[in-house]
């Protein structure tokens, strides 16, 4: 080891703007989460969704003309939200928890980044993975059916609109959920479990309570129901759903935002410089 000063021109480097710094944090977080669990669950989602779409639309096209509603089938079962939970947990459970757990948060927040910037960067990373998973497979399915000629152009366009709308709303919800729960702990494992736990409890509990009481507002507490309802509305389906699509969309987006603000509030209480 030699003791000689680092070779550089001292102090004349032009500092990058806020955007670059946020991007640095976001891109690191995004690639950090590209682990086996995330990649597998995203791949699985693509596989499942595309297969369901292609098969359903194929048979629909055999029986008559396929319509947008056929593309929506994938949202009718809880499998899709369950896959999203895996992505959310893998890509988001540790987004805040890991930095609090290894205490690298002290290094981030003692740098020229606002807390809001830091949380926004983490949101972009986690949200990125979720958007890929919520919207990507649907659009891929549309592309495949288009290539195979199973549906008309107007149907395909309506399907695209449906996937984008539903996917966006779902992504906002799951991202907020992941960040909100991640901010509660310093271990990603706990927040990952909580992500599943919270949604499962709301799903099962919500269904049971709704069945018992018949109250029209209870289903709004069930995220799975809300997603299904939004999908119905987005794809222009005529059947009845337990909740009203627009209201469900507002509920999901609202919940996501509230959880995000909660995460921000929790992070404000983290001590950057400790004794």
């Amino acid at each position: 080891m030699s003791i000689s000063a680092p070779r550089y021109a001292a102090g004349t480097v032009v500092r990058t703007g806020r955007g670059s710094r946020i991007l640095a944090i976001a891109s690191r977080e995004f690639f950090r989460r590209a682990r086996a669990a995330t990649l597998l669950s995203v791949s699985l989602t693509f596989f499942v969704v595309v297969t369901v779409i292609v098969v359903t639309v194929f048979f629909a096209s055999l029986l008559g003309t396929a319509n947008a509603g056929d593309f929506e089938t994938v949202y009718e079962s809880p499998v899709w939200p369950f896959l999203m939970l895996i992505v959310a947990a893998s890509a988001g459970a540790g987004s805040l928890a890991d930095d609090v757990g290894d205490r690298s948060i002290s290094l981030y927040l003692s740098r020229p980044v606002h807390l809001v910037d830091y949380v926004a960067a983490k949101t972009v990373a986690c949200g990125g993975w979720l958007l890929i998973s919520t919207v990507g497979p649907g659009l891929t399915g549309v592309a495949v059916t288009a290539a195979l000629g199973y549906a008309s152009a107007s149907v395909l366009l309506a399907a695209i609109a449906g996937f984008v709308a539903t996917g966006f709303v779902a992504a906002v919800f799951f991202t907020g959920l992941a960040l909100g729960l991640s901010s509660l702990t310093n271990r990603a494992l706990y927040s990952g479990v909580a992500i599943f736990g919270v949604v499962l409890v709301l799903y099962i509990g919500g269904s049971i309570v709704a069945g018992i009481t018949g109250n029209i507002y209870v289903p709004y507490a069930n995220p799975i129901e809300n997603i299904r309802s939004v999908a119905h509305g987005a794809f222009g389906l005529s059947g009845t759903t337990a909740t009203e699509p627009a209201a469900s969309a507002v509920t999901l987006v609202g919940a996501g935002v509230v959880l995000w603000v909660f995460a921000l509030w929790r992070m404000r209480r983290v001590e950057v410089i400790s004794e």
Partner: protein, 310 residues
Amino acid sequence: MPGALIDVSDVSKRFGTVDALSNLSVDLAPGFIGLVGPNGSGKTTLIRLLLGLLKPDAGTLTVLGHDSQRDPLDVRSQVGYMPEHDCLSPDMTGIGFVSHMGRVSGLPKEVAIGRAHDVLEFLGLAEERYRKIREYSVGMRQRVKLAQAIVHDPPLCFLDEPTAGLDPAGREEMLNLLRALGRLPNHSFVLSTHLLPDADGLCDQVLMLNAGRRIASGSVRELLASHEGESVIRIKGDTDRFVAGLTRRGLSPKRMDGEIRVGLSPETTHAVFESAMEAGVQVRYLGRSVATIEGLFMARVEQPEKGGSE
């Protein structure tokens, strides 16, 4: 005050019923500054306020010309921080982590990578930089912590117990590194430590806090100048005969902790060796009583036997 590194003006901060800082005012010039004080003295609160992470109840703080409350991001882009606690991500490589932190501090990507390489090499981590941090020893981790604090070349860097957890060889290496960094022009450091003799070797200024108040600050040389005077002698042999010999020659020796302290002038120093020869003792050490930051600290903090102020 122009040219000041840090300007604290009548700052107070209270948490519940505890006054963490009370009407603190101090000017610190660029250089290597020791920040010392017992637990609960307000050191940590002061650092938080300086970085703009906390709002004072009263007063202003200016760091490198920027107001900590109005322009905290400007302050933090000019400042580095090396925490005492673990803060590294184990799954990143040394080079990956340090360059990432450089980018977050505002360096463009290519510059961040280049600087990170330079800094890691300077700190002796050239070989290990591509390995994951989870494989690093304690000493290497401390150096990565230091690397991320200086990667963006800040004019001011806060170091919190940089030798914590290091074995004797690691401590010596770290202190040597800090000394080398301290010699770089336009680079100032604030060293917060409980190991006061470490501060003696590095710092040209000191800020001593106790119970939220300043008990000493300024140039170390000036603060310690008034405390020098006596000589210290350590001998091997019959101490009584030796001391008697000094007394016979008109000196007033005092015995303390295995040492003999006496006021000497160049003219009277020969008395030491004469008495030693007569008494048949060896003079193992003869030197001025060196005033230290530690000595000054213990003198200024009340009731040193009682322990911490919490």
